[in-house]
Symmetry: C2
Subunit: 338 residues, 2 copies
Amino acid sequence: MSEKINRQWLLAARPEGMLNDGNFKQTETPIPEPGEGEFLAKTIYVGVEPAMRGQMLPQSAYAQVMQIGDVIRAGGVSQIIKSNHPDFAVGDMIQCSPGFQEYMVSDGKMVSKLPDGLNAEAVLSVFGGTGFTAYYGMVETGEVKEGDTVLISGAAGAVGNIAGQIAKIKGASKVVGLAGTDEKCKWLIDEIGFDAAINYKDDDYADQIRAAFPDGMNVFFDNVGGEILDVALNNLALNARVVICGGISRYNKDHKVPGPENYFNLVYKRARMEGFIIVDNLHRAQEFSDAMTPWLEDGSLKYQVDIIEGFENLPNGLMRLFTGANKGKQLIKVNDPI
Amino acid sequence: MSEKINRQWLLAARPEGMLNDGNFKQTETPIPEPGEGEFLAKTIYVGVEPAMRGQMLPQSAYAQVMQIGDVIRAGGVSQIIKSNHPDFAVGDMIQCSPGFQEYMVSDGKMVSKLPDGLNAEAVLSVFGGTGFTAYYGMVETGEVKEGDTVLISGAAGAVGNIAGQIAKIKGASKVVGLAGTDEKCKWLIDEIGFDAAINYKDDDYADQIRAAFPDGMNVFFDNVGGEILDVALNNLALNARVVICGGISRYNKDHKVPGPENYFNLVYKRARMEGFIIVDNLHRAQEFSDAMTPWLEDGSLKYQVDIIEGFENLPNGLMRLFTGANKGKQLIKVNDPI
């Protein structure tokens, strides 16, 4: 890699069905020069999330869409290597939106320095949109409380595993995760502290869910949608909360996906199904951080990252989310820090 | 009618598809004699509601099911004609569960005298499960507030028309009703005070809904389900509340009905969809009555009843609900009071 070249991944074509290599195109541009009041930062980590696919579509219900030829937008951690900005010095690690490229120039807006004592992995998995999503969804939308039984779909994903840990910390009596391999299920139980885990590819996974919740579940935290949501709706306890955090089973489909046939169980069980988007609540970032910091410090909350290496692998990192390859937050390490 | 004969309608066969005459069977038994601490009451009005079909099925998610040969269970108003009960005198009008029959004996449990100054029609349409459902659903589940825009499906029905009136009383800026005939739509606007009404049988009803809510609706109060729910989910305002009160489009179907494809708009709109059943809240009946009584007295809330006459017409009264024939609470007047 020449020191004067900024490699980038651009949006080459909008996705139809599963993301594939054809959606991405690599290019090179000169490394930009920071002007007065700006700095140049080198990308260290990029974090990817399923919602990025939606931003690649021609329209999005809530996020700004990318245009063909744009650098793929993504959050991450960068390190400042040149600075004309009074508040940022060379060597500072920052949480920012580097996108799928090696260098960026910024005026410091929407950028924050990494808190003391926290490494980039912890910040990207817990103290960013991912961890805040898990916290807000489980605590505020899901209203999890002592003694609750909880089911989480996509439990081995970035948000799901944290949501499950938070449920345990809040006193849930039983936290069950759904994941797509037996190995992930074992990991959820042995490493993350879930009480049980079910492989949703098992033929009898619906029976396993029913057996795990003989009195129904108090909270269902859904990252997946589709048939799994319907099965959960058939196993609600009275006054259950169904938290719609994501619907990854829907994201790679461009045709209409059937809705939850069993929604009317919301009546029979006097239950509610509620959606949220964390961007509405980012003004409360400090509050979320304050709530989770002691859990991280006392070891009750463990952050989980799945790191692959190399600028070349940025698209692969994103595509891993949709094949269910990742455990925990998917990061791509683009460069080593100074 | 002999004075010694109690005519009854029994459950002859469990419903499959639309209710029809074959589900009901007329029989005659002797008029029962009240024992010590009991009274005999003559049925004046029977009130019917869509949920009764569910109680005729082999299993119900929340109500006690009827058995083949049982008298069809239904609420209503009766008048006491013989009494061995210290608290009830001949001539007293009572709110009770007479069922589809002309006479009943009771020990006074689950029975209340009609409040002073309220006639049977007002009690059965506003101060019973029907009115309480409208109140609880719109005020507590729907959290309607000043300035909200509100859509109600099944708006000309017993619950729907009251829910709409309550929304207006609570300061909603726009209340729109869905009904199945132009005549009902006109009635909702001219007589009930809805701001607008849309005939859901119009080919372009979805466009009409979109046009009526250019900024989306704050509350959707659903009595119908099916495609109408999906259209509403496509037209939510941010933080909207979708109140699942009923799903009459589903009740006559024994096959699986598709779920709402657009449920994921709950995420995009940070909205919630919630079910409730009024039987959970009947201990709060006095509170609901206290809230609604002044509205009835000052004329801001008008009760609406649709009365057909005659014991013979009890099944027809119930079946009218599913053909959409009724406007307001469907009552069957079985006898005149003394």
